[in-house]
């Protein structure tokens, strides 16, 4: 926070790594990996600095940046309308997301040690992806948001398609088309807003629409249409049933380090978008469909859980578990009260960490055993006790064991929903049981029981692998034990939202 263009530097700092990498020959594997890892550090440091300064009471306002970028209309005739500015800025919510992104990126960079080929291209795309993700959360402007949003798309496509497993190309296309459609819908919404109001600044839009109680700028039907389109757009990302099938494929086929980021951050962009834009710009309409969202949340929760129950591949279990857990985000949002929204945000962060941890662990044992099929595994605790321990801890976090972040978020989301829609919430609570059922089935299937194979020569988690596992678990427990670390920075954001919905 000590210099101008702090956020710009924060967002684009990984590009430094891209620059350095372009001068390194592709053969020097360890150098490339080191550079790739180091390139994620500036963003991490800066985001942590910003986070702690904010916790110490420094205002986030002064981080905002606003530079004229492109003016579509002739300034002589239409003035400042129809211009898009390069506007970066953060509030508590986005700051947390940025910190999460930076942390997970660094850890995923460590986890990228399993990449076996084309390290240079991999890390360049990886860092580009990080830029996109950081930018998404720092953008103060819908179009800028969209630009960063799309920027995440392309590196991910390549990362999946080139470095993934057997059906990688199919998965990459599946990812591309679904997300392409999602972002297409989003683009329509953004452009309608932009073309009809002449601005794409989030705050300006919010105030224009807030002042538009007579529905002069948009008819109420249009507003609702826009909101629903937005939900569909972010619903693909989140993903909301039935827009999820791409995500399962990606989770199974992408390399673990990419899935860490994908499950950890990219899915969360959907939730972030719904909170930031859905609630932020269309608070009234959002209230009207809150019940729908909550119902969708419960459907997601149960649907994902039931399907996770019968999957044979652990990655599939985790993929459906992600769907299920994103249901909790929706449940929280559907509640439309402090507890619900806070729960949803907590769940976003928490699931990001937990999913990253679990997928990292999948990477750890897949690297050694070359399978993630539950049937072929078993007795992992014998050969790799520490990995198994982490896996168990991850599963516990995921199923909402108190003392870990999953519980806090789940609890708050349900707390919120029970206030508004107790019966629906009670149905949703079944999901808590199911989560335990499918996670234990899968995790115990892998770690406990008879070993189906010899573990001779298989080493347990070691060296660098400790870092992501320990750090992630540490943060998960920290949030679980001391949730204020997250809730304090969020206070003002949530207050603003609650104020908008008049609650």
């Amino acid at each position: 926070m000590n210099f101008d263009y702090f956020l710009t530097f924060l967002v684009f700092s990984p590009l430094l790594g891209v620059l350095v990498l372009s001068f390194i020959p592709n053969t020097k594997e360890s150098v490339i990996k080191t550079v790739g890892f180091l390139a994620t550090l500036p963003a991490l440091l800066l985001s942590l600095v910003a986070f702690f300064q904010y916790r110490a009471g420094v205002s986030l306002e002064e981080l905002s940046e606003n530079v004229r970028w492109v003016q579509f209309a002739d300034p002589d005739t239409l003035g400042n309308l129809f211009s898009i500015n390069y506007e970066l800025g953060v509030d508590g919510l986005s700051l947390i997301m940025i910190v999460l992104t930076a942390i997970l990126s660094t850890l995923a960079a460590v986890a990228s040690m399993y990449i076996k080929k084309e390290w240079k291209g991999y890390f360049m795309l990886f860092l580009l992806l990080e830029v996109g993700m950081l930018g998404v959360f720092a953008a103060e402007n819908l179009i800028l948001f969209f630009i960063f949003f799309e920027i995440t798309l392309i590196p991910t496509f390549f990362l999946i398609g080139k470095w993934g497993y057997f059906e990688k190309e199919k998965a990459a296309f599946s990812f591309l088309i679904y997300n392409g459609l999602g972002s297409a819908v989003l683009l329509i919404v953004i452009m309608v807003l932009f073309a009809r109001t002449g601005t794409s600044n989030i705050n300006a839009l919010a105030s224009i629409l807030a002042a538009d109680s007579q529905n002069l700028v948009f008819s109420s039907g249009t507003k609702m249409g826009l909101l629903i389109a937005m939900l569909i757009a972010f619903g693909v990302k989140l993903p909301i049933f039935p827009l999820h099938s791409w995500m399962v494929r990606v989770h199974v086929q992408a390399p673990p380090s990419v899935v860490m980021l994908h499950a950890g951050i990219l899915l969360k962009i959907g939730a972030y978008g719904i909170i930031r834009f859905g609630m932020g710009i269309f608070p009234e309409q959002f209230q009207d469909i809150a019940v729908l969202i909550a119902v969708l949340g419960v459907v997601n929760l149960l649907y994902g859980a039931f399907l996770a129950l019968i999957q044979k591949d652990f990655k599939m279990v985790l993929a459906y578990s992600s769907i299920s857990h994103m249901g909790i985000v929706l449940i929280g949002l559907g509640a439309m009260n402090e507890a619900g929204i806070q729960g949803a945000i907590f769940q976003v962060v928490s699931h990001g960490l937990i999913a990253a941890l679990l997928f990292f662990l999948v990477g750890v044992f897949y690297e050694r055993l070359e399978t993630s099929n539950i049937k072929n595994l078993g007795g992992l605790a014998k050969g790799m006790p520490i990995t198994a321990g982490f896996l168990l801890a991850g599963a516990m976090a995921s199923l909402g064991m108190p003392g870990m972040s999953g519980f806090v978020s789940e609890f708050m989301a349900f707390l919120g929903l029970f206030k508004e829609l107790p019966i629906l919430a009670a149905v949703g609570a079944l999901g808590i049981i199911l989560t335990a059922v499918y996670l234990l089935r899968a995790v115990l299937g892998i770690t406990y029981g008879k070993a189906h194979r010899e573990f001779a020569g298989v080493t347990d988690i070691r060296n660098k692998e400790w870092v992501p596992a320990l750090v992630l678990l540490g943060i998960i427990v920290l949030i679980g034990v001391y949730p204020s670390v997250l809730s304090d920075p969020l206070t003002s954001t949530i207050e603003t939202i609650i104020f908008k919905i008049g609650g």
């Binding site: 004229r68 970028w69 492109v70 003016q71 579509f72 209309a73 002739d74 300034p75 002589d76 005739t77 239409l78 129809f82 291209g121 179009i143 969209f146 630009i147 960063f148 799309e150 920027i151 798309l153 392309i154 496509f157 390549f158 398609g161 080139k162 190309e169 990459a172 296309f173 591309l176 088309i177 392409g180 459609l181 297409a184 819908v185 683009l187 329509i188 452009m191 309608v192 932009f194 073309a195 009809r196």
Partner: protein, 505 residues
């Protein structure tokens, strides 16, 4: 009219045209008298110099207000300047492509002719951009067309080239007839060929039958000219012709010729039909607005056809033919929405399209001329063989697909903005455009898959000729530049062309 009156006109505003004409003549003569042993490539470089000189002279003319010569048979307004600039830049790139064009069976015999026919076509296109007279526009259009017919067939020993040319000429003839048929009615009702005079007399039109006839003429002209744009319903020739024609010609057809088509269609539509009332009631809405939905329908059809059929293509040039049909569809959306941003949007998108498509064609030319095969699998493993080329191609493809960070994205954004800013907003059209854009990811990224994911059939490194190198480099740079800092283009536009306010003067 005597010589003095003739000389009194400010002929200097035609300098770019004169330069092109002069260079074309020069090339003709040189080609005729140069010994056969001399490599005709040098003519290409001279031609390129001529085009660059024309660009320079055009830029020096930017400051001028609207000027007209001989009852608007030549006029240099902002619209003309802005779009002529695109034509010239596009032509310069095509020239570079042509210089580096080395097909398998060779075109050495006709290389010289190639250059000056190409310049003649360019001259036609330039005239299309800066005339306010129907006759001049028509002659310019035909100059472009006829030169293109010949260019398409210039690989005369190649059956596909012959066929392409033949198909082009037949469809082109029909389109000319239809266009002209429409023009004849416009002339008949207004009694003049000067567009602005037409506009004035049309404004006073009250006879419903005349208006009806104007409507018919509108459709005839629109459909006739859609041949140049390769948009529905006159798009079907494009894949065959693009595939058969020599690659530089394909590039020319898909960029310069298409741009010229848009120029003439906008000129005629906006001046003539925008000023035609749609009913006998005074101050009724313009006829063009009334038929907006039809244009929107054509745009939608074009986008769907182009993008959907492109999915099945295995031939890279054919693929890009459908892609350029689709791109023309996007541009037609601009026409269908008719917002205040129309000219800006068209100009920017055509500019972006110029860079990205020509860049892509440069690479296509390089890859295909080597082996003679145009199958998409030729791109397999390009990343291994020539990483820079692969990345450049990726940039062009991303831009064509409208991914942020590239000029194509800003262009699309601009189109959406225009289509949604008008009342009533074109939600459906925009939705179709976006949906088909997503469909286009399939084939665009299919090329990416070939380049980056598939192993190469051969490991031989690719030698990059200087001409292509320049095209690829400049296009890639411009595609990124206008994607990252589009304000350069928009500020240029706002500063120099003054919102095209002199269009109706």
């Amino acid at each position: 009219m005597d010589l003095e009156t003739l000389l009194s006109y400010k002929w200097s505003i035609m300098t770019p045209e004169f330069i092109i004409l002069g260079v074309a003549t020069l090339l003709t003569l040189l080609d005729l008298f140069m010994p056969k042993s001399v490599n005709r490539k040098v003519l290409g470089w001279i031609g390129l110099t001529g085009i660059l000189a024309a660009i320079a002279s055009l830029i020096s003319l930017l400051g001028h207000g609207p000027e007209s010569i001989l009852y608007d048979t030549f006029r240099l307004d902002s619209f003309a300047k802005a779009f002529k600039l695109l034509l010239l830049i596009g032509a310069a790139f095509v020239m570079l492509l042509a210089i580096s064009y080395e097909p398998k069976e060779g075109i050495t015999e006709y290389r010289g002719e190639f250059y000056y026919l190409f310049l003649a076509a360019l001259l036609g296109a330039m005239m299309m951009s800066s005339s306010g007279d129907l006759i001049t526009l028509f002659v310019g259009l035909e100059l472009l067309s006829i030169s293109s017919y010949i260019l398409a067939g210039i690989r005369k020993k190649n059956l596909q080239s012959n066929e392409a040319s033949m198909k082009y000429v037949i469809n082109g003839g029909i389109s000319t007839a239809i266009t002209l048929f429409g023009m004849s009615y416009v002339y008949g009702i207004t009694g003049t060929t000067n567009l602005l005079d037409m506009a004035r007399s049309l404004l006073a039109l009250t006879d419903i039958q005349h208006i009806y006839l104007m409507g018919l003429a509108l459709f005839m002209i629109l459909v006739g000219l859609s041949f140049k744009l390769a948009t529905a319903p006159f798009h079907m020739w494009a894949p065959d012709v693009y595939q058969g024609a020599p690659t530089p010609v394909t590039a020319f057809l898909s960029v310069v010729s298409k741009t010229a088509g848009f120029i003439i269609i906008v000129r005629i539509m906006m001046v003539v039909f925008f000023n035609t009332p749609s009913s006998y009631i005074p101050n009724s809405m313009p006829l063009l607005i009334k038929v907006q939905d039809y244009i929107a329908f054509l745009a939608a059809a074009t986008m769907i056809i182009g993008n959907v059929i492109a999915l099945r293509q295995k031939n890279i040039k054919r693929l890009f033919a459908y892609s350029s049909i689709a791109q023309a569809g996007y541009l037609l959306v601009v026409l269908a929405s008719m917002s205040v941003f129309m000219f800006d949007t068209l100009w920017f998108y055509l500019g972006a399209y110029l860079f990205m498509n020509l860049g892509a064609f440069a690479i296509i030319q390089l890859i295909t001329q080597k082996t003679g095969s145009e199958d998409i699998s030729q791109f397999a493993g390009l990343y291994r063989r020539a990483p820079i080329l692969a990345i450049a191609m990726a940039i062009f493809i991303l831009s064509l697909a409208g991914i942020p960070g590239t000029a194509g994205f800003i262009g699309k954004l601009n189109i959406f903005m225009g289509a949604l800013a008008v009342e009533p907003a074109h939600y459906v059209l925009v939705s179709i455009m976006i949906a088909t854009t997503v469909v286009s990811y399939f084939y665009y990224f299919g090329v990416m898959v070939q380049m980056f994911f598939r192993p190469a059939a051969e490991q031989e490194k690719i030698k990059l000729p200087i001409g292509l190198g320049i095209v690829i480099g400049v296009c890639a740079f411009a595609t990124i530049l206008f994607g990252v800092a589009p304000s350069i283009a928009f500020d240029f536009l706002h500063e120099n062309f003054n919102s095209f306010s002199d269009f109706f003067q």
